[in-house]
Symmetry: C2
Subunit: 466 residues, 2 copies
């Protein structure tokens, strides 16, 4: 729980002497009258970045935004704040949210439970909300968007996906005339760094993870990243906004990168592909057998070297969008970090503040119809080409067996290649299939497992585009 | 001149029977009362695309935008229009602009003179304006922005740079908290296609140009593209918006790609670079010798293979932006074409229409201070690393002569490489310099020309980053 440190009087912040050093807190005492009031909840990495950007001359210059107060978990931690905190105080988040002179609540606490309480309270109090909390938006977005709609306030979250790279606003505004057909992203810098190092430096997964950890690109517990959970959160947000349907992160079929080997990456390169953890949301047109639906997956995929996403390396993120009018566009950059994410959060604050300062209704131009729940294609029906690597006995008939195992499941093969012979008289064989369903591929793998000459299925990866 | 075809009565468009087939022109006769009125001036490639996108169900669904009329050069040309033209008429542009039920004028005529008259008239009549006309904005932007500011209307032009790729709106809104430090773009698909084909298929400039023409990627008269004029127009717009200073296209130092040879592209590849026509606008901090200023250039450059712009091939466009908070971000895509450009124009229309439909003042949130004229760094002071290829006599002392010619101008060399010996006892030598000024490089080249053993300076290219 956030430690409340109540400060009802904004004019005599009780903590200012002990824990807040504001270099010019006495400046422009009357600016709070006309400026748009921001409550900053959380002063960690992103919160500090937002604070810095709002304190800038140039932002101050073109818009009066004042930070009315900051709520922090530990109010006794000494922080040096520079400017733009009008009568700054470290106060109880709830008290801060409900202040009459606060119009925008900026949630940068992280986590889900406290952040949810804070954002919900703000929306109920008819305050506009800006957050970069992907887990919160992915998990409670449906309820929070509905609350925002009901209370006629905005809930913006540009920083939740791809950090500072502009994605949500371009998707909503710049591509407004498009029917979005597909969104594919490299949304997790940690896994992209690991896969890039495996591809370029020939490291194993474990070695690359260790390197990423030592460089600060991976957390001590990397589970959420390497298992694709972080990317699934972001994809569910992107898909919800792009297709205007609520997508829960649980609806995303998810497969991590822990089983990707350096050998498969090398094989992919031989075939002119690269292996990336791809977050894919794609519209599937209605057919005789199913209604229009979405296919949603986060999984390591073979990406053709000619695809723009193949060139996104190391800690870079990218979101590739196909719209029926614009064709393919891609937004890329480093994304993560204090100031990049703060850049996105501050842009959201300024977007709302501009309207408020002008006396415009910030929600009026944005009326969003209630979003339906997304219809998700069962993963068994989803279709891809597949790369498969198997270990077999080194026998003349083995490729025949593989072909028959696949053929019996309706899986036709594009190519079959043997890659060297192991000392123990086994062969490593790569298959590339034509486009088949997940169910067909599963059946083909079962058929292989039932065949005595096929010893082991080492790796199965889908191939982009799906 | 556009042929005026006056139609004062919007309810009985005189041309409808003869040249306009509207499949459901009688639909929702009273929708014009509440919908935002658009006047479409020009129905060429982009205009037709805008018409199609505004007629879509999904756009119709979330916003009432009605095309009040269309002005075309040749009103007798038969066109099949489908929906969304309320009481459509092919009318005199001036009459159309001044209709009370028109709030947004969309200029898709192309050219400068007529477009200027049309846009100016619209702004004077307090109509919001959307255009994709890069030549118009680059040439008359300063005056037109001032008019828009004075008359409190918006002038949007997302489609003028990089076609459908969202750039202007993200730059203005999503990166609002950033001080922009540099903008580098591949802004011309024709030249990028030519350079890519020279690099990948080993074609000469002439062969690649011919191929581009036969595929429709280059015009019969490619001068504006290959000489960098088109890119300079776009760069001046990007720089004006990014740095909030008026930049005239004439202020852009410009060098085309006609002198780039396949050999230089091959040499660049050997050095792990690729050659691109780069449009670069960069802030130069104030120093003892000069005030803060901008360096602006469109020129073929060596781009390191690791730079995101190196991977933008063929007809793709990209804009790479460095902001002090966000770091580096890039927007890329195919950009050009009917629907991509229309996607950008329609997004601008919808951005204005959303505010109008909500009763908001569309300009209020966007108050732009009058922009100062940009201070441009004289090209002589601009600094780069340089690639130079010279033909010399094949003598042992020649590298010494080159080193002395450069050294006397203050140009120090990073590397010197001989690439084969010609039959007539000459040598082809590549130099890579450290970062020097344009003036220093010029002096070094003069020194070389004065040296008898250096026969010819074949190619001089700047190296990114500058």
């Amino acid at each position: 729980m956030m430690q409340p440190h109540v400060s009802e009087s904004a004019f005599e912040p009780p903590c200012q002497q002990t824990s807040l050093k504001s270099s010019d807190s006495s400046e422009s005492p009357d600016s709070s009258i006309s400026s748009v009031g921001v409550a900053l909840i959380g002063l960690g990495t992103v919160g500090s970045g937002v604070y810095k950007l709002l304190a800038q001359e140039n932002v101050q210059g073109h818009l009066p935004v004042g930070i009315r107060g900051i709520a922090v978990r530990n109010p006794n931690k000494v922080r040096v704040l520079e400017r733009n905190v009008e009568h700054a105080s470290f106060s109880d988040p709830q008290a801060l949210i409900h202040r009459d002179d606060v119009q925008i609540v900026v949630e940068t606490m992280g986590g889900i439970t406290d952040a949810y309480d804070c954002v919900k309270a703000a929306l109920l109090a008819k305050k506009h909300v800006v957050t970069a909390n992907k887990a919160l938006i992915a998990t409670h977005g449906s309820e929070l968007f509905e609350l925002a709609r009901k209370h006629q306030v905005r809930l913006l979250f540009e920083g939740a996906v791809a950090g500072g790279i502009p994605v949500m606003m371009p998707l909503k505004l710049s591509l407004a005339a498009n029917r979005i057909e597909a969104i594919a992203g490299i949304l997790n810098g940690t896994t992209n760094y690991i896969l890039t190092q495996m591809a370029t430096a020939g490291l194993s997964f474990e070695e690359a993870l260790e390197q990423a950890q030592s460089l600060g690109f991976a957390e001590a517990d990397p589970t959420s990243d390497v298992e694709g959970e972080d990317a699934a959160f972001k994809l569910s947000i992107l898909a919800s906004m792009g297709f205007q349907q609520h997508v829960m992160p649980q609806a995303v079929h998810r497969h991590g990168i822990t089983t990707v080997s350096a050998l498969d990456i090398e094989n992919a390169q031989t075939l002119d592909y690269t292996v990336k953890l791809i977050a894919l949301a794609q519209k599937v047109e209605a057919s005789e057998t199913h209604p229009e639906c979405l296919t949603l997956r986060v999984q390591p995929m073979l990406v053709p070297a000619s695809h723009p996403l193949a060139r996104i390396d190391n800690e870079y993120n990218a979101v590739w969008i196909r719209g029926h009018a614009v064709g393919d566009v891609m937004f890329s950059g480093k994304g993560a970090g204090e100031l990049p994410t703060a850049s996105a959060v501050t842009a959201d604050i300024l977007a709302i503040a501009r309207d408020l300062a002008a006396g415009n209704d910030p929600i009026a131009g944005m009326k969003i119809p209630a979003m339906p729940e997304a219809v998700i294609q069962p993963i068994e029906q989803s279709a891809s080409r597949y790369y498969v690597r198997v270990t077999t006995l080194d026998q003349p008939s083995v490729i025949g067996h593989l072909g028959l195992a696949c053929g019996a499941a309706g899986v036709s093969l594009e190519s079959v290649m043997q890659r060297g012979i192991s000392p123990n008289a086994t062969a490593s064989i790569m298959l590339l299939t034509h486009r088949v369903t997940h169910a067909q591929m599963k059946q083909a793998l079962e058929n292989m497992r039932a065949n005595g000459s096929i010893q082991q299925i080492d790796c199965v990866l889908a191939v982009l585009p799906c």
